[in-house]
């Protein structure tokens, strides 16, 4: 109940954030403007619109998660409003979880709206949609839940700017984790290879959530894969939230 109260409040507060609307405006511009690139293709305009729309949903969703998420806890501490919350009979983990759920609900709503707008735009342009397009939207939303958990963790530990830089870097590296496993043969059996393999598993693998190429090209994706990706995202998110709760438990506010 207390968690939900914090979540509701966080949702309301985030909805009032102007950054959200600026980013949504850019996302809409990217989705509607994608048709212009299609004009110079040779019949691939719908594919390009699908690609750019899903990329816009993903990129602007990530930016919203980073800019709003890294500010969540820090802002409460900075404005001292956290004292009025923590002096109530509430555990600190409840506060962290409530903050996370509030932003997660907002991101779920924003992602759903952006995917729906993109879908309608594709249909209006004469394209057809299949289940993979919406599954790609689902996995983008799932990826944002993981990024939000990372942003909330860093919001409890560092300043918003440093947090944003770390989350963004993790997002970029999280799409390139295979470089840690594709080593030349002379690394076989070395400690370096074992360390890099450990790094491969530690860094969140965001490419697991990327089925946008399949969605744009109408290639079906196995339901089993979607379930595994969602399970991976849910477990990783839970782990980050536990770490965030533990870190915030003893934090001197």
């Amino acid at each position: 109940m207390r968690v939900l109260a914090v979540a509701r409040n966080t949702f309301r507060e985030a909805v009032r954030d102007k950054v959200l609307y600026v980013l949504l405006l850019f996302a809409a511009a990217a989705i509607f403007g994608s048709k212009a690139l299609g004009w110079i293709s040779i019949g691939q305009d719908i594919k390009i619109v699908k690609d750019l729309s899903l990329a816009a949903v993903s990129v602007f969703g990530v930016l919203i998660a980073i800019f709003v998420g890294t500010n969540l806890v820090y802002k409460e501490i900075d404005k001292r409003t956290i004292y009025t919350i923590l002096c109530r009979p509430m555990h600190r983990w409840e506060f962290i979880l409530g903050k996370y759920l509030g932003l997660a609900a907002l991101l779920a709503l924003v992602t759903a709206v952006m995917v729906l707008v993109a879908a309608v735009y594709v249909v209006v342009l004469g394209g057809s949609l299949d289940a993979t397009f919406f599954l790609a939207g689902l996995l983008i939303g799932w990826q944002l839940l993981l990024i939000t958990a990372l942003a909330v963790l860093l919001s409890a530990l560092t300043s918003p700017i440093l947090g944003a830089i770390i989350v963004f870097s993790t997002y970029v590296v999280g799409h390139a984790t295979t470089i840690f496993t594709e080593l030349p043969p002379h690394f076989d059996g070395t400690a370096t290879k074992r360390v890099l393999q450990a790094v491969y598993y530690i860094i969140p693998n965001f490419s697991n959530f990327d089925i946008r190429a399949e969605a744009a090209n109408g290639v079906p994706v196995a339901p089993g894969y979607i379930l595994w990706a969602m399970a991976y995202g849910a477990v990783y998110t839970a782990v980050l939230l536990i770490i965030a709760s533990l870190a915030f438990q003893d934090k001197d506010v």
Binding site: I48, L52, V59, D130, V219
Partner: protein
């Protein structure tokens, strides 16, 4: 007063913007680089893939648009197309499902750069990633027919690729008709036999040698079926009726004994035609896979299994329902699970 201030503001903005445009044009003219200079720095596709931050398919789109412009520029200019292969390779590695790049890239390479080897390699790679795309084997057949016309084996190879296009189950009717026409004009059996004989002799892979041996046996069985068909014709001419079974051919003295199938199958009579269970089972497997591909496409598109196989045809996911290879038998389709069954070889 307000109108004057507004006019001054608008004028200032317009003049400022015009100056910016003029300055930009000056800079563009002085820094103008050709496609060659730009493409010189196009990084390795593996590196690009790692550092696009999950935007590899968008980068592929942008590179494809640049590739179209580059091709048009070369077509109007020097006709060298030096960077075409590298660009297309990069795009298809960034987005391996981008069928149009394999298709048009293959056409550009074969028709404009006259590099039909690269075109065929590209489209073969495309077929591995997109086995359901009929356009790729179709364009490959066109490369053999149009760009390698002087090569003696080309028409037969084109016929093979047209058969592959038809086998995807999504090829339009004109491709099916073209495949049938070309197959009639060229002795595909001879071409196929030569191909399998070469593989059986020269392949370093044991599995491929065994496959080639099996295919050679199948061709031999098909020959036996044709010979037995002629024997049935002879029996009908002599007795003015069809034989009840192949044993009648032996009893009637037309053949000495029934031939053996080295792959364990049996020959049987179906009307005037002689069929063989090994070959029919092979056909059954291929046709059932073709139907399953169509059913799966319908399910991926709509989220539900088609209520009937005809619904998959109406939805455009299956061009037609292929006939069951055993006469008098029909496909069993379960709309609740999407499972298609053809049953096993009949007791003869």
């Amino acid at each position: 007063m307000i109108a004057r201030r507004l006019l001054t503001g608008v004028l200032a903005v317009a003049i400022g913007f015009a100056c910016c445009v003029a300055a930009q044009r000056q800079m563009d003219a002085s820094r103008k680089t050709g496609f060659d200079e730009e493409l010189l720095y196009l990084p390795n596709e593996k590196l690009l893939n790692h550092f696009t931050g999950g935007l590899s398919s968008v980068v592929a789109d942008l590179l494809w648009l640049q590739c179209i412009q580059y091709t048009a520029e070369e077509f109007k200019g020097e006709h060298k197309y030096v960077w075409l292969n590298h660009m297309i390779d990069t795009i298809t590695r960034l987005d391996p499902y981008f069928v149009d790049v394999y298709r048009y890239g293959g056409v550009f390479l074969a028709a404009l750069k006259a590099d039909s080897d690269a075109s065929i390699d590209l489209m073969k790679r495309g077929m591995i990633h997109n086995p359901g795309a009929w356009v790729l084997p179709y364009e490959m057949a066109m490369v053999y027919l149009l760009n390698r016309r002087e090569n003696p084996g080309s028409p037969a190879q084109a016929a093979q690729f047209l058969q592959l296009a038809v086998a995807t189950g999504t090829a339009p009717q004109y491709v099916i008709d073209l495949a049938a026409n070309i197959a009639r004009q060229h002795d595909l059996d001879e071409f196929e036999r030569a191909m399998w004989e070469d593989m059986a002799r020269n392949s370093s892979e044991k599995m491929l040698r065994e496959l080639a041996q099996r295919k050679l046996h199948e061709l031999a069985i098909a020959d036996v079926c044709r010979q037995l068909g002629k024997a049935v014709q002879l029996y009908e001419e002599r007795h003015h009726r069809l034989p009840d079974s192949l044993n009648d051919l032996v009893a009637g003295g037309i053949i000495e004994r029934l031939p053996d199938d080295p792959l364990g199958g049996r020959f049987f009579l179906a009307g005037r035609e002689v069929l063989n269970t090994t070959l029919q089972e092979e056909k059954l497997e291929r046709r059932i896979n073709r139907i399953r591909n169509g059913v799966n496409r319908y399910q991926a598109r709509t989220g539900a299994w088609p209520p009937s196989l005809e619904a998959a045809v109406e939805g455009g996911d299956l061009v037609f329902v292929p006939p069951h290879p055993y006469p008098g038998r029909a496909w069993r389709y379960d709309p609740a699970t999407g499972e298609v069954e053809g049953g096993s070889a009949p007791e003869l």
